[in-house]
């Protein structure tokens, strides 16, 4: 666990960069060394050549005496070679080197004190030989200095890279650990745990913010699921209890086959009700899961509403309501026809079932910007504002509607279908009397 930072991407990246840097330093160091050595040797040889030429011209002017004079002069001149030898007949006549073999051209030789001398030999006249050269240890010293500098640079780079790699990966680890801790806390049941943000707006912060949003959504869904499960368990008890009572009573009371048949029919009706409830719940769950998006196609709301007027106009009339559907503009959206039909059918049926006779039900379709706005409403008694939020909850039924058939799933389905189509339903609070629900469907933009 201690060397965990070694396994982070940040550290690996730092290591790779360090290696590349070290390689660069090495190549650069050796190049500089070779170039410097070359330049120094050339310089030595240039001086030697110039010195030899001076001795030669001295000899040509005034024979050996002048040559000796030139050597002695040169030995104290700045910028001249360090070592000189003028020998005649195997004997040193000037200079600071012992006699040597008369080798002409560039060569190295062992000097006093174990030094290596690089220089140039030249025959000035028959029997007269001159050699000028310099100590090579100067060159070696320069090479060593360059190598040492490069080595220090290399070590420094290694240190900086390792250090920053460690720091960066530790910072990264600290934050990823925070994320892991939050996730683990949630796994352990603390649904409120969230990843702390640093407020730096960097990529990790943005990632953390996104994960937190996801967690919020999951928490909301879980809460919803929990509530629905509770409600289902609770709501199913009632019909099952009724079914049981009915069967028990039949067992006790029935004598004639006709009575049994009637009791069984009632039992079948009750189980059908329960099956319907399950079907409705499953349908909502599937719609919320987005299963139907594949079946989306262009669809004109005007046409859908016109069809609904034909179907429900008579129904509303029959129960003493009036249904007015104003669908003047064509409004093409992308959607699932069967579901959109059910959405509006549910809203219209709600109004028919939950308002007294004489109530006027109105559906209007208008265009507002890039949305098709549909408002379904009535001028009935309405719903107190305190209950508005609960209306869309699954299995929620207001006390006053308990006498009507239904499970409290109509508006939940409306909500699920509307959200699937990107049209969040909104209750128009200011619109009174009655209950008014507005839906804004994104219009389909047909390429012109």
């Amino acid at each position: 666990m201690r060397a965990r930072f070694l396994h982070t991407d940040a550290f690996r990246l730092a290591a790779i960069y360090t290696a590349i840097f070290a390689l660069t330093v090495a190549v650069l160091g050796f190049s500089v060394m070779f170039i410097t050595r070359d330049a120094l040797r050339t310089q030595i040889l240039q001086f030697a050549g110039a010195d030899n030429a001076a001795v030669q011209s001295g000899y040509q002017t005034a024979m050996v005496r002048e040559a000796v004079e030139v050597v002695q002069q040169r030995m104290s001149a700045p910028g001249a070679s360090d070592y000189f030898l003028l020998q005649q007949g195997g004997r040193t006549i000037a200079g600071n080197l012992p006699p040597m073999a008369e080798q002409t051209g560039i060569h190295e030789l062992a000097g006093p004190g174990g030094h290596v001398i690089l220089g140039m030999g030249q025959k000035v006249a028959p029997g007269l030989y001159v050699f000028s050269g310099s100590d090579l240890s100067r060159v070696h010293a320069a090479e060593n200095r360059i190598l040492a500098t490069m080595l220090w640079l290399f070590l420094l780079a290694l240190l900086v890279a390792a250090g920053s790699g460690f720091l960066v990966s530790r910072a990264f680890l600290r934050r990823s650990d925070a994320m892991a801790r939050a996730c683990r806390a949630i796994m352990d049941g603390d649904m409120k745990a969230r990843i702390p943000l640093r407020g730096t707006q960097d990529e990790l912060d943005r990632l953390a913010a996104t994960i937190n949003e996801m967690l919020d959504r999951i928490a909301a869904l879980m809460e919803n699921l929990r509530q629905v499960t509770n409600d289902i368990a609770h709501d199913l008890r009632t019909p099952v209890t009724h079914l049981r009572h009915g069967l028990e009573q039949a067992l006790h009371d029935c004598d004639a086959p006709g009575d049994y048949a009637a009791a069984l029919e009632a039992a079948i009706r009750k189980s059908d009700e329960m099956l319907d409830l399950f079907a409705a719940l499953l349908r909502i769950a599937q719609i919320e899961g987005g299963a139907r998006r594949a079946a989306f196609a262009p669809l004109d709301l005007k046409e859908v509403l016109a069809g609904l007027r034909e179907v429900f106009g008579a129904v509303a009339e029959e129960s003493g309501h009036s249904l007015q559907i104003c669908e003047m503009p064509a409004a093409v959206i992308r959607g699932d026809r069967a579901l959109v039909v059910q959405l509006f059918a549910n809203l219209i049926e709600n109004a028919v079932l939950h308002t007294p006779a004489g109530t006027a039900i109105t559906v209007t379709l208008t265009l507002a910007g890039d949305r098709a706005r549909v408002v379904v409403g009535d001028n009935g008694p309405g719903v107190p504002e305190a209950d508005h939020q609960k209306l869309f909850r699954r299995l929620y039924r207001r006390e006053s509607s308990r006498t009507y058939p239904g499970y409290g799933l109509g508006l939940s389905l409306v909500l699920a279908v509307a959200e699937l189509h990107g049209a969040s339903p909104r209750i128009l609070v200011d619109r009174r009397p009655g209950l008014w629900i507005e839906l804004g469907f994104p219009l389909l933009h047909v390429a012109a």
Binding site: E265, D272, L275, D276, F278, A279, L282, R283, Q286, I287, A291, R292, A294, A295, G307, E310, V311, F312, A314, V315, E318, S319, A338, V341, Q342, A345, E349, V352, L353, P405, G406, G410
Partner: protein, 227 residues
């Protein structure tokens, strides 16, 4: 009529076999897709009842294969309610109708009757221009209705409803079948949509005439017949 039921759930299959047997049909049963396909190819069935979910070969592929081979026997798909897209897929895959489990047997019998009748009508001399039952007659081209020589003025919806009843003369049609075929509604409404429209149609078609043609079948649906 000989009917082949391809259904892997033994209980459901037993129920179907018994229910259809009581209505005078000869019912065969296959418990998996491969056996079902072989029997459907070999036998001369009036209708196939095919479960969508079958071990081995699934129902949809089975019917697709039959259709590819040129077998035109009418098919009624059985689906679970969890498959919202099943209806469209099933009808596109060569099915003639679909039924969501669990279903009432009256519904099953009515739908089997409707698809075999439709198939028989297609084998006849093509699409009829007029439909008739006793002294009631509609003209599908001119969209006119007459009873006992008297013109009856029907609205578009009422005409479609009557047309569907006439196409199924003598057979029970259920509320769900009417909702699907007349109004293209694929859920059970909470208001009495079918009853309202049916009562309006009856007022125009039956009221004031000696015999009623539209009869209510309690708990199931309606039937149009002369007797």
């Amino acid at each position: 009529m000989r009917i082949l039921v391809i259904e892997d759930d033994r209980k459901t299959a037993e129920h179907i076999v018994r229910a259809l047997g009581e209505h005078g049909h000869v019912v065969e049963h296959a418990a998996d897709g491969a056996t079902g396909l072989a029997r459907a190819r070999a036998g001369d069935h009036a209708a196939l009842i095919v479960d969508r979910m079958l071990p081995g070969l699934d129902g949809l592929s089975l019917v697709r294969q039959l259709r590819d081979e040129g077998v035109v026997t009418p098919v009624l798909f059985l689906t679970t309610m969890s498959g919202l897209n099943d209806r469209v897929e099933g009808l596109e895959g060569g099915g003639d109708d679909y039924l969501v489990k669990p279903f009432a047997f009256a519904e099953l019998v009515a739908r089997v009757g409707a698809i075999t009748r439709r198939a028989a009508a297609l084998e006849g001399s093509g699409e009829p221009v007029r439909l008739r039952c006793a002294d009631l007659e509609i003209d599908l081209i001119r969209r006119t209705t007459q009873r006992a020589g008297r013109d009856i003025d029907l609205q578009a919806q009422e005409f479609r409803l009557l047309e569907y009843l006439l196409r199924n003369t003598g057979r029970v049609v259920t509320r769900a079948m009417l909702l699907e075929h007349v109004w293209d509604i694929h859920f059970i409404p909470r208001t009495n949509v079918v009853e309202t429209h049916m009562s309006r149609l009856r007022t125009k078609v039956d009221r004031g005439f000696e015999r009623e043609l539209i009869h209510t079948v309690r708990g199931v649906g309606y039937v149009l017949r002369a007797g």
